[in-house]
């Protein structure tokens, strides 16, 4: 028991000294578990996040928009893969992670349970959803677990195009006809609040924040990054000439930040717990893709074995 206590103290001292933890290092079980949960959830979000946008690939308004959206969705797949790999360094296997997504045991970002009703939604997702994700991920490039931090560096480098392509879509709509501008406003109306919810429950209600901060898995609290996001985004909305749907939103000179209205946490928990507009549809689509891809995975293995046998036979003859 004494020994475990020592290990924990040494571990915390390394964290406090801002050392990175690598896969084979000793770590408390709870640290490992928290990371697996968080990284898997992050990976699942990238993968499920392809669905709302995939909805518009075939209906993008121009070839330029279409290739950009395709590239973005392909990036999300890549990001999911970096993250699954990072989770696997902690000793969990891929199949378990995927099963947990499909059975509902693992969560993913609740934002992806909202539908993409118009082309402007693709703009709003890039601008707001990717914008929010980037703020979180920039913080996570400094997370204490090495493989997670490295995955975040790659992801952040790639994501800034996502946000810019989204903003450009909205800018184009806002400079277009009245109807196009109305579409942009409608998208902002629907995506604003769910985007703020992406940062997770308020600090006072967040069950993981305190421990995660101590372990330096997180470096800022949910409310801190949410505020940072609001401060960065309000001027961008003003530039577009559309209105953020929050009557309480205003600059607070004394705080040096924007004040904003209360978040509807009932809605947040409803969506987290499976009752958002698209929860069932999203999981159904993932399960279907996985099941219908089973023959590809099996065929690839069979082909690999055949090729191996053939090479072995050829070597023998030679």
């Amino acid at each position: 028991m004494e020994k475990l206590h020592d290990l924990q103290e040494i571990f915390q001292a390394r964290i406090d000294a801002d050392e990175k933890i690598e896969p084979k290092d000793w770590m408390p079980d709870a640290y490992r578990k928290t990371l697996i949960r968080q990284i898997a959830q992050h990976a699942h979000s990238e993968i499920v996040g392809m669905l709302p946008e995939g909805n518009w690939i075939s209906r993008a308004p121009s070839l330029r928009r279409k290739v950009a959206l395709l590239a973005k969705v392909q990036d999300e797949a890549g990001h999911g893969l970096y993250l699954y790999s990072a989770a696997e360094t902690l000793g969990v296997d891929r199949e378990t992670l995927i099963d947990e997504l499909h059975t509902g045991k693992a969560k993913y970002s609740s934002i992806f349970n909202y539908p993409t009703l118009s082309w402007a939604d693709i703009g709003a997702i890039g601008w707001l959803v990717d914008g929010a994700a980037i703020m979180n991920q920039v913080m996570l490039t400094r997370t204490s677990y090495g493989p997670y931090a490295r995955a975040m560096v790659r992801i952040c480098k790639e994501e800034s195009f996502h946000q810019r392509q989204g903003y450009e879509i909205l800018l184009t709509l806002c400079r277009g006809s009245e109807a196009q501008k109305a579409m942009a406003q409608d998208a902002l109306n629907r995506w604003w609040w769910p985007s703020l919810m992406m940062f997770g429950p308020s600090d006072k209600d967040s069950q993981h924040t305190e421990q995660s901060m101590r372990w330096r898995i997180k470096r800022k609290t949910n409310d801190e990054i949410r505020q940072q996001f609001v401060d960065a985004t309000v001027p961008q909305a003003e530039f577009l000439g559309i209105t953020i749907p929050d009557p309480d939103l205003q600059w607070n000179e004394s705080r040096g930040h924007y004040d904003f209205g209360p978040i509807n946490w009932d809605e947040f928990w409803q969506v987290v717990n499976g009752n958002g507009p698209c929860n069932r549809e999203r999981i159904r689509a993932r399960v279907k893709a996985h099941e219908e891809g089973a023959w590809v995975r099996e065929a690839a293995l069979a082909y690999a074995e055949k090729r191996k046998a053939r090479n072995a036979a050829a070597t023998k003859v030679a």
């Binding site: 690598e22 084979k24 290092d25 000793w26 590239a71 392909q74 990036d75 890549g78 893969l81 970096y82 790999s85 990072a86 696997e88 360094t89 296997d93 891929r94 199949e95 490295r150 995955a151 790659r154 790639e158 995975r297 690839a300 293995l301 082909y303 690999a304 090729r307 191996k308």
Partner: protein
Amino acid sequence: MKKDWPLWEVFIRSKNGLSHKHVGSLHAADAEMAIENARDVYTRRNEGISIWVVESSNITASSPNQTEALFDPANDKVYRHPTFYDLPDEVKHI
């Protein structure tokens, strides 16, 4: 029977003159497919001109418990560094 594709570690040479560097891992049925997958996953933006893949189970790593035994002996050998040797400032190009 369910069977995961094996795990591969991926190393990329970003340009000639530099070494291959570990970038992450991925699953693939065999080495050739691992290279094809690595192309899609790790080089979407011209990050490399050459890819190595090694099945993860073939890598032998030192253990963090060995850190002292392996690396401490180098700690007290300051005489392996050029700054250990005192030379007057007037001596140039050395």
